[in-house]
């Protein structure tokens, strides 16, 4: 599962951060999940919990609270400046699957609704990151 890989990278990062700061408790973290990642939040949360327990057992590092925040995806055309949302586009299941693995794959499936260009920027909702 892709969710597992993402959860793993988050816990790994937090464990490394705690270690480098000689701490063993991380009070609260916010995990921002971009819409393009198409994550199943329940599965993601489950993976985070499992891995968090593992971090406690193996590294004695306690991650107390985490909160998952979803971020909507939006795009801006580099050619004409038009701004739009993921909901404004219609994508096949196949395209969605590709984009959820590698958000940049969006350039193969999405075009600016106004001018048709493939040259756009993913303004928000691209990836997963940690906010402390």
């Amino acid at each position: 599962m892709h969710e597992w890989a993402l959860a793993e990278s988050i816990i790994l990062t937090l464990v490394e951060k705690a270690k480098s700061e000689n701490k063993n408790v991380i009070e609260s973290v916010e995990i921002v999940v971009g819409e393009l990642q198409g994550i199943d939040i329940e599965v993601f949360e489950f993976a985070l919990n499992e891995l968090r327990n593992l971090a406690k057992e193996e590294n004695n590092i306690i991650i107390k609270n985490f909160r998952i925040v979803e971020e909507k995806a939006s795009f801006r055309c580099n050619r004409c400046g038009y701004v739009w949302k993921l909901d404004d586009t219609s994508l096949s299941a196949e395209a969605r699957e590709s984009i959820h693995f590698i958000p940049e794959a969006a350039h193969g499936f999405i075009q600016c609704p106004k001018c048709g260009s493939h040259d756009f920027e993913i303004v928000s909702g691209r990836g997963v990151y940690i906010r402390l």
Partner: protein
């Protein structure tokens, strides 16, 4: 403070490799992709090395074509991450073609950086040596490679044909890389027609104080051998690039 969790995942996913071998040339079309495919076949078939392949040409991946794969019909395999496509018992491939099939994706610098990081943070490899096929040029993908990969485990093989423009291009690239002490393993030739062409490339390597790794001969009708038939031409190529293979195998056994 925002933290990108991919860095930790990339480190962990790449840790298992004994060596990273990147094939580069700033001139396009000199045979980087073909060289990567041939080296992979030789290592996997004749040296029993478990080879992982990464096509870093994100906007125009072609390595899968030389390997004879139709990425349209493959289903992405997931298991706590993504499994590279299994080419054969000893070879696996990760490529953007896995995700975008036939469409070509235009990417700006920042996006190349992001896509490279995303691929490396979710790919769960199985091989011992990672061979990387680079796009032509000396730009975003190459810079990202030099930044993300552990250079003490890396070998850069520069590829050139005996043509003047290719030789001059490889010379410039070699100088830049050497200035920053990048791990250049040597120069390998491709499409040599005769001994004099072989000598031209050797001379360029010698002038740069780099090892000359041999030259793959020009092969007429090369496209007929793409895919599993590459095995049929290995014996015609391997003796000419023994040095390149040895350099990699030696590193892989450390």
């Amino acid at each position: 403070m925002a933290i990108d969790p991919r860095a930790a995942a990339i480190k962990k996913n790449l840790e298992k490799f004994d060596a990273f071998v990147a094939v580069m040339s700033s001139k396009g079309g000199v045979g980087k992709t073909f060289s990567v495919a041939i080296l992979a076949y030789i290592l996997a078939n004749n040296y029993d090395v478990s080879v992982s392949l990464l096509d870093m040409d994100l906007t125009n991946p072609t390595l899968h074509m030389v390997l004879g794969l139709d990425m349209k019909s493959v289903k992405i395999e997931e298991e706590k991450g993504i499994r590279p496509f299994k080419v054969s018992a000893k070879m696996e491939l990760m490529t953007m073609a896995y995700f975008v099939q036939e469409s070509s994706i235009p990417l700006r610098g920042k996006e190349i950086e992001n896509a490279v990081r995303e691929i490396l943070s979710i790919t769960k490899w199985n091989g011992n040596i990672l061979l990387v096929d680079m796009p032509p040029g000396f730009s975003d993908s190459h810079l990202e490679f030099l930044r993300l990969f552990t250079l003490s485990k890396t070998l850069i093989i520069l590829v050139t044909t005996p043509q003047l423009l290719a030789l001059k291009s490889v010379e410039k690239l070699a100088i830049s890389l050497l200035q920053e002490r990048a791990p250049v393993a040597g120069i390998m030739g491709n499409m040599c027609m005769d001994v004099s062409e072989d000598e031209k490339i050797r001379k360029t390597a010698t002038q740069l104080n780099l090892d000359y790794l041999g030259c793959i001969p020009y092969i007429a009708g090369i496209e007929n051998y793409y895919g599993s038939r590459l095995a049929e031409i290995i014996h015609r190529i391997e003796p000419s690039i023994k040095k390149a293979v040895e350099v990699i195998v030696k590193r892989g056994k450390r």
